[in-house]
Subunit: 161 residues, 2 copies
DNA sequence: GTGATTGCAAACTTTTTGCATCCGA
DNA sequence: TCGGATGCAAAAAGTTTGCAATCAC
């Protein structure tokens, strides 16, 4: 469940920041759509349902705040806008790392999540070899999803690449 | 050496596209700076030295073309603009895959390349498990480079995270 | 009450597009 | 010659910023 609303309020107070309706709603919307990768505009539209007077700038400012507090992750699917998703493992002592990659279909644009911890080995390897201390990573795979492959095969098109 | 200018000309002709000075120069600039990750603006400034009348739109159009021809890779360092680099392994039969990741220092912003083929195993695993056929990947590690870690240690600041 | 937060509009940045002109084949 | 390519300027799209009004504490 990552962060509860109560924990979020505590975190804000601890930082000397104010607990506002807008902030609670943005977190709530993100928590309520953890399966989706939401753009600022997406969040804006959803928060507006409960709080029509909110401004888009507030969404940007709040999301920035949530990023700094390590409560959300930021992903860029190269479709022109940055997306946010609530941390999958914000509880525990995992230092904000997310072990969850994205499979992006070149054909239909669908984004599938994929869980894997293999990268930890690679991170150790990097630290040994280069002295670079890895805190986080972002891994995207581009290709073609099963559905699109089947559709193409059905249409007689030979699978290329 | 990825693609030679002659090979590029051939590829253009094969696609029914025209060989223009602008296209040659953009490729030349990218080939001459394979150590850097260049933005469209970077390329623009450099091409202008040889060809002052070029327009920024042409850079964008050419880079798009080079991407489609799989001659350059595109990376997004989340600093507001997309960057391009000439393929490291465009020769051979590697289908455009690049086995070259980026280590991005959160402290100084430096970007270090890191070569590794470990991901092939993971790609096989994904295909088996999800049916998603991986064609390409982009992997970024965020953290702190050796230099910045040393600097912080020297200043007595304890390394956190 | 006071300073942080917000909403609005304007500004900014990067990238794309329309169109007349130009140029390679 | 002719259609693709270019340069320019305008448009588009996403995000940030300045500022007065508002709200949490």
């Amino acid at each position: 469940m990552s962060v509860s609303q109560e924990e979020f309020k505590e975190l804000l107070k601890k930082k000397g920041l104010k607990v506002t309706n807008q902030r609670l709603l943005v977190l709530e919307v993100l928590a309520g759509h953890r399966d989706r990768h939401m753009t600022a505009e997406d969040i804006y539209e959803l928060v507006k349902e409960d709080y029509p007077e909110i401004g888009l700038a507030t969404i940007y400012r709040t999301v920035q705040l949530l990023l700094e507090m390590q409560l959300v992750d930021r992903i860029n699917l190269d479709d022109g806008c940055v997306r946010y998703e609530i941390g999958q493992d914000t509880d525990g002592d995992m230092c904000g790392k997310h072990h969850h990659h994205h499979l992006i279909c070149n054909t239909c644009g669908k984004v599938l999540p994929f869980k894997d911890d293999l990268l930890e080995e690679l991170e150790r390897h990097i630290e040994e070899e280069t002295g670079f201390h890895v805190v986080n990573h972002e891994l995207k795979f581009y290709g073609q999803c099963q559905e699109c492959r089947e559709k193409e095969n059905k249409n007689g098109k030979h699978t290329e690449v």
